[in-house]
Symmetry: C2
Subunit: 345 residues, 2 copies
Amino acid sequence: MRLAVIPGDGIGPEVIAEALKVLGEVVPAAEITRYDLGAARWHATGELLPESVLGELRQHDAILLGAVGDPSVPSGILERGLLLRLRFELDHHVNLRPARLYPGVRSPLADPPEIDMVVVREGTEGPYAGNGGLLRKDTPHEIATEVSINTSFGVERVVRDAFARAANRPRRHLTLVHKTNVLTHAGSLWSRVVEEVSLQHPDVTVAYQHVDAATIHLVTDPGRYDVIVTDNLFGDILTDLAAAVTGGIGLAASGNMDVTRRNPSMFEPVHGSAPDIAGQGIADPTAAVLSVALLLDHLGEHESARRIEASVAFDLATRDHQSPGATYAIGDRLAALVSSNVRTG
Amino acid sequence: MRLAVIPGDGIGPEVIAEALKVLGEVVPAAEITRYDLGAARWHATGELLPESVLGELRQHDAILLGAVGDPSVPSGILERGLLLRLRFELDHHVNLRPARLYPGVRSPLADPPEIDMVVVREGTEGPYAGNGGLLRKDTPHEIATEVSINTSFGVERVVRDAFARAANRPRRHLTLVHKTNVLTHAGSLWSRVVEEVSLQHPDVTVAYQHVDAATIHLVTDPGRYDVIVTDNLFGDILTDLAAAVTGGIGLAASGNMDVTRRNPSMFEPVHGSAPDIAGQGIADPTAAVLSVALLLDHLGEHESARRIEASVAFDLATRDHQSPGATYAIGDRLAALVSSNVRTG
Ligand SMILES: CC(C)[C@H](C(=O)O)[C@@H](O)C(=O)O
Ligand SMILES: CC(C)[C@H](C(=O)O)[C@@H](O)C(=O)O
């Protein structure tokens, strides 16, 4: 197993160290190459993602990423030039984001139901396409545009993936989230594709919700969701909210996947670089560890993935959530649990 | 006071009847003209908003709208052809949406703080501009686009309005919500305008949050918000979520305002037509009643607006939230409270 690791910015390196500790317990022979992409490299050299590095990354089975973003870098530079460039160059069309309320974890909701959903977020088009511009900048007649681009090719492949996932889950339910009553063109395409693909999955029940209504139900009735399929921007918003109601982005893992396997997929915690707590050794590495489980699942190492998930579930059920311990201590605990092959549920 | 009333679809007519009952207590001399726009008219005549009706609407001091939308009409027809057309034709650039957690109201949050915020949502541009299209429809090469259009003219006027509102509130705090790290063009314009206008408001503290992070804080720390200013689509999403955490869209009022007063402003509950409960007489008219208070404020009838708000606050603090009563009964209660000039706080 050849893995590229991009620790990145802020708490990225801190949580990645623990994720690798846990990975070492299940795949001790993994070959790991580190890449120093991120804010520091940009400051030092002006480089974001050199072609040569991109070429090297392509030679790996998967990529593990910590976080990208730093207050010392103008907004958008690292995000568009590094993180989104990786997602687009490596055709990460399925952005997979599970949200599960683990036993023992406190939700900000008063009366949380069982929550176990997965958001299949489109990852290579929509409003993230980078299409748009500024006209008459800095004049009273300035116009800024952002173009959401949606193709039947791009929409169909994520919708197919979402249906396949739904068909493999006990509840077999899929919700399309969009804003078809306002974004009528993109909404029409998404709705038609979902309708067409649903014909091949009579076993999956299908629902539709407007994105605004979905945010309401994510706080009043999150248990209703099984698989959500949605566009890049709505997926960005919904997955942060879904993470919040299931205990916070400190626990939320994600996979940026090319499900055709032509390019290596990239796994990363949803939390980002969290500059406010960086360098203090207090970041929770759980989301990074769960991202390793997603990575292993993607590479077919399901048994190892289940061991990691079971260890996280055990730790979350038993940890003192007021003082869960330092970053390294949580990593040590999870590594020990994985090595002792703890099982839950 | 010449008011145009559009009861509209679903529960619209039911809640509007109660809103007018309450209005009658404070402005008995209001001259009211009803317009039967909505699903029924469209089915009967194919008309959505005839020019002649639009011309008549312009002759009024304000418009009170119930709800627009019906499952029997394809998605987008009524929304774009009637509701959004009214907002755009009448230049409703400030979409004002207060979110307050009233004493006695149950939030879905476990530990809700005091919440008293107002979202100033841009109402006439952004992704709602209706710009975009379909190319190669129904082929494997279909492309659907949606263009978000943002002008310095359009952004500046809502940002100015938001700062003016913030300056008049005790906390004097304004949060710009956008996604500047991805939507770099529109994000750049919004950020620059906020920065410029902030120079004229040294008394207002300014914060920025990405829309995804804002959804997290709306459930983990909603007390932090005072005034939020944001674009049309983010505002749509955030205001439904803000309504949810403050007890539901059954209580959320809104104003679609042309603050220059060149066109009549339009006031409406956020909840929409709720076809699932329409015709049963069980819809909560409180949001419609609070929309009347916003309408009166806009027309300078502040004393009457305060009376209505105080009555709603009193009713919410004392009502049995399990069985708040039928639509008409809540309306009767609120009308009686207004007529007895109840005061709270
Ligand atoms: C950092 C940012 C570009 C990114 C996104 O918007 O996709 C992040 O919010 C995420 O969800 O992974
Ligand atoms: C019905 C729909 C067009 C509308 C919107 O998106 O603005 C509604 O959701 C709202 O918030 O008033």
